[in-house]
Symmetry: C2
């Protein structure tokens, strides 16, 4: 497929073209850039939702429950998974557990996993591109599923307008991270597997943590779900829609998008620079340099200077 | 103090000079570079230990207990804290709780907190420099205390030869992260606050997690501590020393140092590039560019190209 065919296919919502477009933009090069440049004017329509939380919070089942809920209403959904512990990312969708098997033949659902693929570009970069492509392809909702509690490499805040933090009873780390100010405040907080002991304790810990941090405007609701049975999923989607409606008052949605784009552009530029660095200083060169520093023949700062100068030279010569 | 006086003072183990040296290397510039270049040949003697884990694992109390144990044996210790939730980092050392107040007048202990300071350079960069300076100053042991479960910006693996992961009962996230392969395997695992319910469950979860990941050579011991009473601290130090002895067999210690230095050099170079980027594209320029992308006048890739080209031009002109 030529870039032109891919662009046309994405605009027409064709699955093969969408998959090809994402693959093209995972690699650095002119084809991917042409695809992104042509599709970008058609973005901005989808509702972009980020689903994040520690590994084991069963975000996948919650995503699957959201998909069922949305499909029942005729809403189309695309999922970008960057959670290496997610069964989506394993490539092995575990039938009953995930229940997305229901949607295998459904053109209104598209699933793409990112984390285990070989990205020559950065993972954040590739994930952002995938979200743009799925938006341009006309999906009503794009869900980005990431692992981590705000410390992840893929900054979900930069890609999604509404960020949902998924926790389970017994996982206190994220709450500690909120208290410590090392984690950004999500827009919606979900306690999944709420039938487990400790759900009530966790909810009150969250309430306490939220009183310790400054919040202006939207106060994140704390919801209980049992994704495996679909319990609480209607309320979760309602909270996401409420958050979006709150953003849409005044200039907040646009401000959020500009803020996200600022972060995303910076990450894009840094990932490109990292790629230039790795092209300029290959493994052997880095090994040799590290050995010289450990042998105390050169200091780390001077070695880093050598690396950045070589990178600029290489990138300028491109 | 001139850079020469600072260098001389650090070599003589003078506290004021050490503090000044760390501050100098927190800022980009010729003075910091001169200090690092002069001190680097004198590094490599200290035992470098990383202490990491989720916020709330009470790493500070464990660090304090280690310090007491080491000081009782006449061993000198420096601590570099990059945990924003740590009381060390708050600047407010909480007397009884931390118990480092015992060492305020002790020249054999030096504490430096990094996370809340204004670093014009990157935090990883500044932390690495501080470790080098404290090593060159002659401290027997340098402890780096970082928050996070392996996903932190400050890569403790790059700075320490032995990495201790500190968990508490109820914190399952780190175990999930080990299982999912998103976290590097630590060298020693500590369950702190081991008197709390769930310590035994956590220990068996860890054992199970460790059977799921490939481990060759050193198998991380799992220890129970109650840092507040000093319980288990002798065993912890024993495990750290055992790990170091295992590394010292053959070429492993040197290989570990080279591996750490490879990571550190790459981070150093990337942090420098990030600084160049922020110098070339200030907030106003980034705002304007992000607004144009959100308005769909330019696509993100093209905007990132503009940013990297401007950065190279700026850095070359330096």
């Amino acid at each position: 497929m030529t870039p032109e065919e891919v662009i046309e296919g994405v605009r027409a919502g064709k699955r093969r073209a969408i998959g090809r477009a994402i693959s093209m933009t995972e690699q650095p090069g002119a084809d991917g850039r042409a695809v992104l440049a042509a599709l970008h004017p058609h973005t901005g329509r989808a509702i972009r939702v980020g689903l994040t939380g520690p590994p084991g919070a069963d975000k996948s089942t919650l995503t699957a429950a959201l998909v069922r809920h949305l499909r029942a209403a005729g809403t189309t959904v695309a999922i970008v998974s960057v959670d290496p512990s997610s069964p989506f990312t394993d490539g092995a969708v575990l039938g009953d557990r995930i229940r997305l098997v229901d949607h295998f033949l459904d053109d209104g659902v598209f699933i793409r996993s990112m984390a285990t693929r070989g990205h020559l570009g950065g993972l954040s970069e590739a994930t952002g591109h995938a979200v743009e492509i799925l938006d341009a392809a006309g999906f009503d909702v794009v869900i980005v599923e990431t692992v981590g509690a705000g410390q992840n490499e893929v900054e979900v805040q930069a890609l999604a307008e509404t960020v949902v933090l998924v926790l389970i009873p017994g996982s206190g780390d994220a709450i500690q991270a909120i208290k410590a100010g090392v984690m950004e405040i999500p827009d919606v907080i979900v306690i999944n597997k709420a039938d487990r002991p400790g759900a009530g304790v966790l909810a009150s810990e969250i309430d306490q943590a939220l009183t310790l941090v400054p919040i202006d405007g939207w106060k994140p609701p704390v919801l209980l779900t049992q994704a495996i049975d679909g319990d609480g999923v209607v309320e979760l989607w309602g909270a996401i829609i409420d958050h979006r409606a709150a953003l849409a008052e005044g200039d907040a949605l646009d401000a959020r998008r500009r803020d996200g784009m600022r972060r995303r552009l910076r990450v894009l530029a840094l990932e490109r620079m990292a790629r230039d660095l790795d092209a300029a200083i290959d493994d052997a060169a880095l090994d040799a340099l590290a050995a010289r520093v450990v042998a105390r023949e050169v200091d780390p700062s001077a070695a880093a200077d050598t690396m950045t100068a070589a990178t600029r030279k290489e990138a300028d010569g491109e």
